[in-house]
């Protein structure tokens, strides 16, 4: 019964992430989903991954999202999607039914249960995965530098307008496609 409640709450929280009009609310719903999934993982018998999901999914990622909002400011979202809603629901229903048809019903394993400790499995048998994780963490550090970068990326430099005043006239003139203001036969460039 508790498993049912946790599953339903996780799916409802995930749906609220889509429905939230403010990004900060979507982030809070995402953190709730993460905490509920961590509880499900614990009840499934995977405490190590549950702790990792709780600390990373509900903690670190939430902090990253809030940090990103503090940089760009709060954004109100446009609820209109690109794909029509009936088509979206039809596709999701088809995918869920197909996957459910493939994997359900699950039965308990008839094979003997493998008793390899998690640390042995991770460090000895999946050592290449650990190396890949180290490389990924370095990539993430570089990505975080991109998140923290203050300077704007300039793709193409626009020609800086040269502004000049013509003597006896307060109206600026356009010369050679640029604004020119000449005063006392002197061209003054604006920064």
């Amino acid at each position: 019964m508790l498993d049912w409640l946790l599953v339903i709450a996780a799916v409802v929280c995930a749906y609220q992430v889509m429905r939230a009009q403010r990004l900060i609310l979507a982030t809070l719903w995402l953190a709730s989903t993460s905490a509920l999934v961590a509880t499900l993982l614990y009840r499934l018998g995977a405490p190590e991954v549950a702790v990792m999901e709780l600390s990373v999914g509900a903690g670190l990622v939430t902090v990253l999202f809030v940090f990103a909002f503090s940089i760009v400011g709060e954004v109100t979202l446009d609820p209109r999607g690109i794909v029509p809603r009936p088509l979206v629901w039809a596709m999701i229903l088809a995918i869920i039914l197909l996957m459910g048809w493939f994997i359900l019903p699950l039965t308990n394993s008839q094979n003997p249960v493998v008793k390899v400790p998690f640390s042995t499995m991770l460090w000895d048998q999946r050592g290449l995965d650990v190396l890949a994780q180290i490389v990924l963490i370095f990539s993430g550090a570089i990505g975080l530098l991109g998140l923290l970068a203050e300077r704007e990326i300039v793709v193409g430099r626009k020609p800086r307008p040269t502004v000049a005043l013509t003597s006896g006239s307060s109206q600026p003139e356009v010369l050679d496609g640029r604004w020119q203001i000449t005063a006392n036969e002197t061209s003054v460039e604006e920064n």
């Binding site: 049912w4 599953v7 996780a10 799916v11 995930a14 992430v17 889509m18 990004l23 982030t27 995402l30 999934v37 499900l40 993982l41 499934l44 018998g45 995977a46 190590e48 991954v49 990792m52 999901e53 999914g57 990622v61 990253l64 999202f65 990103a68 909002f69 760009v72 954004v75 999607g81 690109i82 979206v88 999701i92 995918i95 869920i96 459910g100 359900l104 019903p105 699950l106 039965t107 308990n108 394993s109 249960v113 493998v114 390899v116 400790p117 998690f118 499995m121 991770l122 048998q125 999946r126 995965d129 994780q133 990539s139 993430g140 990505g143 975080l144 991109g146 998140l147 704007e152 990326i153």
Partner: protein, 106 residues
């Protein structure tokens, strides 16, 4: 039907399907790039739960746990890089709406 619902593995499998459906729904309707990163997180949570569930059903839950740990780390890096891209796009274009920042016209 009662036996199906009483097996806890089936309950977790329905949770995997529900989270997967919500993730795909979000990917199809979301236009904001920063929110799309959050939606990807939901999809990956579904994958993590599915990996551990497969390990449990196959009798080797620690294999599922080690794979899920790798997926969690990868997912965090995807979130960091996606947020960095979203922040820079928001600064450059003034919006993170994927429809408005698209420059390919056709």
């Amino acid at each position: 039907m009662a036996a199906f619902l009483q097996n806890p593995l089936n309950v977790f499998a329905l949770g995997v399907l529900g989270l997967l459906g919500m993730g795909i729904y979000g990917l199809l309707i979301t236009r904001n790039m920063i929110k799309m990163v959050a939606v990807l997180q939901i999809l990956v949570k579904s994958a993590v739960l599915a990996l551990v569930l497969a390990g449990k059903a196959g009798g080797n839950i620690n294999l599922g746990q080690s794979l899920a740990a790798t997926v969690i780390v990868s997912d965090t890096i995807v979130a960091v890089i996606g947020l960095a891209l979203g922040v820079q796009i928001q600064r450059r274009f003034g919006t993170a709406d994927l429809k408005e920042i698209a420059t390919l016209k056709g």
